[in-house]
């Protein structure tokens, strides 16, 4: 090897009680490269990065930077060693300006002694150098997610960091913003910075990275040069088996039986609103609502499920639906479940007055438990123990249970909001399969998602929501990633 390894993990292990989050993890990252870290949720990729950033200390093994062994006891040590991290959830104080947020982290460095004006000038030139267009005096809460991310990156760059760790950087961005981000990252690499990017989007890995390390169940299962591999291989390594090919649908949309209609719906919630929403959902149809989060999806969901939560008297128009409406909440822990309660009580939630589970005024607890067991077996929610507290399940299994709870009631209209967020590939396949099954059995499904891949594989039609308006409609024949991405970002 001629290029020295910027980062090297040798036999690193980290245990949380019985859980081996990392066991004997070894890999290296070449200096001046973009390195992808991929793996399903809970595969240990975040743990490894947190060890590198000093948030965790390894129980065994050693981390090397530029050939020298290091042991960070806190992120401050890591930052002093020129390692920076952009967290998935940004660490920004929203009511402050971008400049304040960047300076907040400068405390203690020689840089902070400079007067504010000079600091601003230096940051400005740094931003220009990397082609970041940011107004440093604007408040963070007024900036878009993409701009906020650029501030985070600038924060790291301003400390002359040589190693950047980005955790799921594209999760919240529009396709256009993702392209901008990648352009910036490539430029940084060309300047000699080393970039580690944690992701589960394999297409991005293929288009951006130089090399990739695959994690599965706490272990490194593969290390490849990106040119030597492809999406299918990586997916197989991540999951441990070949992903199934989604089959094309064998049923057709019942154009004659609409079951959900939005007519001229306008409403507002907090400080955003939707205007003039019109659409019709038919039986055996999956209607996708595309859009970056915060463009009015939450209002559409509430207009259907919980009108009283909307701003008083802001609701105009009519929503008509036929039959039972079921939903997967966009944020399962917040809206969907009782995290500390046993699984069977979570399964019961929403069905507590169902005569199936009642004898007079009493709940048939034994019956509820056995029904939950049945459902957990049928939907493969592991471990198969309905008495366990819900929060002990992994993300994928939690979501499977939420999906199972809704679909096992055989609803006519299903609102699937972000149905696979934070869920591993195996569970994604499974949940997509269940959604297709529900469609084939006659339900109409409103799929609200910000994942283009998900929308394009499942939907029969896609509406694009931007700033509270439906700005475009695509039928299955017209699906096109670029066009969809453009209209999600507000372009035409």
């Amino acid at each position: 090897m001629t290029i020295p390894a910027a980062i090297e993990f040798k036999g690193v292990s980290k245990f949380f009680g019985e859980v081996h989050a990392n066991s004997d993890v070894s890999f290296y990252v070449a200096k001046g490269s973009i390195h992808g870290i991929v793996g399903e949720n809970g595969a240990g990729k975040s743990t490894a990065m947190k060890i590198l950033f000093g948030l965790y200390q390894p129980d065994a093994g050693q981390v090397f930077l530029n050939g020298k062994p290091v042991a960070f006891s806190s992120p401050i040590d890591a930052m002093n060693a020129k390692v920076g991290m952009v967290h998935q959830h940004f660490m920004l104080a929203e009511p402050y300006t971008a400049l304040d947020n960047i300076l907040l982290q400068q405390k203690g460095s020689a840089f902070s002694l400079l007067p504010r004006k000079e600091q601003k000038a230096r940051l400005q030139s740094l931003a220009e150098h990397y082609g970041f267009s940011i107004n440093l005096d604007s408040l963070v809460e007024d900036l878009s997610v993409g701009e906020q991310q650029r501030i985070e990156i600038l924060k790291i760059l301003s400390q002359d960091s040589e190693i950047l760790i980005l955790d799921e950087p594209s999760a919240v961005l529009t396709p256009q913003e993702v392209q901008d981000l990648f352009k910036n990252l490539r430029r940084l690499r060309d300047e000699g910075k080393t970039i580690l990017i944690i992701t589960h989007k394999l297409k991005e890995v293929m288009s951006l990275t130089d090399a990739v390390t695959v994690f599965r169940a706490g272990k490194v299962v593969g290390h490849k040069k990106t040119v030597d591999t492809n999406c299918e291989d990586l997916a197989e390594m991540m999951v441990g088996r070949r992903p199934q090919k989604p089959q094309e649908r064998s049923t057709t949309v019942d154009e004659k039986s609409p079951i959900l209609k939005f007519e001229n719906v306008s409403a507002s919630l907090g400080n955003h609103s939707v205007a003039n929403i019109n659409f019709t959902l038919h039986r055996r149809e999956i209607l996708g609502i595309a859009g970056v989060e915060g463009n009015g999806q939450d209002i559409i969901i509430r207009a259907l499920l919980d009108k009283s939560a909307l701003k008083k008297s802001s609701f105009v128009g009519t929503v008509t639906s036929t039959g039972l409406v079921g939903s997967f909440p966009e944020d399962r822990l917040r809206f969907g479940v009782l995290p500390s309660r046993p699984i069977y009580e979570n399964f019961l939630l929403g069905q507590q007055y169902n005569p199936q589970f009642r004898r007079g005024i009493f709940l048939k607890v034994r019956q509820i438990i056995s029904r939950t067991q049945e459902i957990m077996n049928a939907y493969d929610v592991r471990p198969h123990n309905p008495l366990l507290p819900f929060e002990k399940l992994s993300g994928g299994n939690q979501q499977k249970l939420v999906v199972a709870r809704t679909l096992s009631q055989k609803p006519d209209v299903v609102i699937a909001a972000q149905p696979t967020r934070g869920v591993d590939i195996g569970a994604v396949e499974f949940i997509h399969g269940e959604i297709r099954k529900a469609r084939d059995e006659g339900a109409g499904i409103l799929l609200i998602s910000s994942e283009l891949d998900e929308l394009m594989t499942l939907s029969d039609r896609i509406l694009v929501l931007y700033k509270g308006k439906i700005v475009a409609e695509f039928t299955r024949k017209e699906f096109d990633e670029v066009a969809l991405g453009t209209s999600m970002g507000g372009g035409r």
Binding site: G17, F335, R341, L349
Partner: protein, 343 residues
Amino acid sequence: MKRIIGLILGLCIALSLTLFAGENPLNVFMILMRSAFGSMYDLGLTLSYTTPLIFCGLSVAVGFHAGLFNIGAEGQLTIAVVTAAAVGILFPNIPFPLAPMVAFAAALLAGGLWGWIAGWLRAYRGSHEVIITIMLNFIAAGLASWFTLQIIPNPNSQSPETAVVSPNYMFKDYDLIARRFPDTPANASLVFAIVFAIVMWIFLWKTPWGFALRAVGSNPEAAHRAGISGKRVQMLAMTIAGAMAGCVALSEVLGSTGQYRIGFSPDYGFIGIAVALLANNNPLGIIAAAFLMGALHKGASDLDLETATITRNFSQIIQALIILGVTAQGYWAWISKNKRRKN
């Protein structure tokens, strides 16, 4: 099991504190035991404390299950006890089996109303129930004092208390428990308390309404999406809480004294919080926790007489340390984690 170890641990720490006062911890413990359980008379007094503590423990626990902290059991029971006494004094001619029922129903209504006010304010005005219930405690105390001294005072006594209700309101003649513990206030309301605890357990864990109540307590937003009205549940929970605290009228007015005496309650409503915590809000556990707290309260009453340096207020120290011992579950996890690390 962990709770029992925590309890013993808390008790041991509290007792060893008596060393600083120059007492023998074992001796203090023996005094506590003797005073709480030494004779039928002592046991009777212990049980007479246990009963209102069960009611107040249930009151606080039902609030906790709905995610509400009911500090207002004291005010709720005050209002209810005055109401029961007032009914007994103002309508002296109702015949026996009906009379206590009417008074009890009035007490439930008054206590429930006092709880409902806090629930309604919480649900529709967003006022925090802790503040509201504390303030309602003061209002209840003031109202009760005024009513006692101005409207229905006891003509035969200088003490601040109401007149005594007519005998057809008391179930003393039929009270098998009172007969076993002569000369003590222990009475059949203990049976009611235990029955209510069991009913409460069934309500919370075996009925859809109890489930809805616990769901709101566990995650109000998810409960809301599941079609459960959080507002209605909050009002229901506070009303039940108030009614439970109001049951103290059963043990105080209808069971033993037949009147409301200002200051009769040694803060039952607040010890009820300790009872609920100790029992982890489990209605059946509350029976045991209330018995323990009742025993402590009675046991400490003799410390004044039998030791040179320790007063009855020592029971509060023991209470506090027991609660710390039981509720600080975190250190179990910490100990087992350390053990694993060593291995």
